[in-house]
Amino acid sequence: MLLETQHLTKTFGDHVAVNDVNLQIEKGSFTALLGPNGAGKSTTMNMLIGLSRPTAGRIIYDQQPKLGVVFQGSVLDNMLTVRENLQIRADQYRHVPADRVAVLREQLGLTSFMKQRYGTLSGGQKRRVDIARALLNEPDILFLDEPTTGLDIQTRLAIWTLIQRLQREHGLTVILTTHYLDEADSADNVIVIDHGRVLARGTATEIKDRYAADLLTLTSPDVPQLAAHVAREPLRVTDQQIAFSLPTMQDALDILTTNRALISNFEFRPGTMDDAFLALTGKGMR
């Protein structure tokens, strides 16, 4: 285990931001901390990278780790060029090879705007530079705090592909926070956090299986008769359609085969991360 937390807790006055969180992060894994705003994701991350002290509990690293962190906001200087920003940060590490900035420039495709001021870059370009900065010291673990918030869908996809490539090709351990549910889909490990507590953990598929109900919508010429034939309480009924929320795909198959004659059309939608997330965290806004 590269990183482990035991009963990690952080309070601010009366407010418990992180409550008894136990994490196990394996080397080379990809973990997504998923949670709504104010769930305690960033607080957890700040403790993991040593920026804030836990009120209680322990953080245990396997060896003295080299950390790379992509913060939620920009932490580079708007008035300096990309090259200046990266070179200055690189010089502040002890064992960074002289060509590191050049290597990252190629790897992350920064060449066309190396001489541009950081402040004039687009959101996606900035994010790539931020990631390059986090990779300067060839970290063992890369932390990313909401790396794709505020980016358009193409850029989000590009950033996401980049992070996955880094994990695959360089054996990087990646831990990121996000509130985009579709992003959590491709992580090895999803940890759903709310109100500072871990609500669920596992692969995205496991979580969906466990917490997200499948949706079966049936179109029928005789809806009342169809409803009478199915023992379950329907989710909603209209003149031509009836919808059921079902725990497994098998249940859907059973309904479809036994009522074949009454069904003119059907739609089956497996549970999504959204469903699991709403089931876990509730629908209230905060």
Partner: protein, 292 residues
């Protein structure tokens, strides 16, 4: 540490208008003097020979002291903005170490303070050379340059100690306004110290910049004062006390005593600034991360 100093200097000079306004802030006493005060003060000094040159050097001295205070404070603002924008958190992840990072902020501030004093000196001397034919001897210039270094170190240390208590850019701006406004009075540049009420005179003695201003006046005015007061010790003391050329504790302070006082203030301020930084670092790093 060098990389960090380079960054701070780059940030300062990239912001052209920032540099301009930083100079303008220091130039204000100079402009105020030229526009409003010079005529009045000259009228009250008419019995002195060389009155014009004495007044010019007196003003340069006070303005340089203010420049040291305000420009170092402006540059140290980076400490607060970096913290507020979480840049400090990012810097802490590097191998630089918090105390070295802190030291590099101070070094760049001191460097800027020195540079801006040189620039201000050149501007003012240039102006007075053209209008009043002001010149200085080489030894005076040497003394002034050494004092510029001392002045910016002292101002940096004192400002750094003050800035430790400030955590938002908003309150920093307010502090900057207060310092910018008050400095001219507190080091006796707008109004000669001897003309202030007793309470204000005592207050002036608690301001580190006053000692810098006094030394500047001693160095810059010496060449002009010596012939004027040749043989009149009492009259000279009286003048020096009035104009803040030498500050009065129980007796008028000598150059050496003034330097000693500045040294003590410097050590105290550095201890305070670094002490609080060190304490914060120590508190935060008490074994947060455990290794197997």
């Amino acid at each position: 540490m060098l990389a960090m100093i380079k960054r701070n200097l780059l940030l300062y000079f990239r912001d052209r208008s920032g540099v301009f306004f930083s100079l303008l802030g220091a130039l204000i006493s100079f402009v105020l003097y030229l526009v409003f005060l010079k005529k009045n003060m000259l009228a009250s000094w008419h019995q002195l020979p060389n009155a014009k040159l004495l007044l010019d050097t007196w003003l340069i001295a006070g303005t340089l002291a203010i420049t040291g205070i305000t420009t170092t404070l402006t540059n140290l603002a980076l400490l607060v903005t970096d913290k507020e924008q979480h840049i400090a958190a990012d810097l802490e992840l590097t191998d630089a170490g918090p105390l070295r990072l802190f030291a590099s902020y101070l070094c760049s501030a001191a460097f800027i303070g020195m540079l801006m004093q040189v620039a201000m000196f050149a501007i003012m001397w240039g102006g007075f050379y053209v209008t009043d034919g002001l010149t200085f001897s080489a030894s005076t210039l040497l003394n002034v340059f050494v004092l510029m270094g001392t002045s910016s170190l002292l101002a940096t240390a004192v400002n750094a100690a003050i800035i430790r208590g400030i955590h938002s850019v908003d309150s920093l701006d307010k502090l900057g306004t207060i310092v910018g406004t008050a400095a001219g009075f507190l080091v006796g540049t707008y109004i000669p110290i001897g003309m202030l009420p007793t309470f204000a005179q005592n207050l002036v003695k608690f301001i580190p910049g006053s000692y810098v201003a006094a030394l500047y006046r001693q160095f810059l005015m010496a060449d002009k004062l010596n012939p004027v007061f040749a043989g009149h010790v009492a009259a000279r003391d009286q003048f020096e006390r009035l104009m803040g050329v030498r500050l009065n504790w129980s007796t008028l302070l000598t150059q050496q005593e003034t330097y000693h006082i500045m040294g003590l203030i410097f050590i105290g301020a550095v201890a305070l600034a670094f002490g609080t930084e060190w304490f914060q670092v120590w508190r935060r790093h008490r074994r947060v991360v455990h290794e197997r």
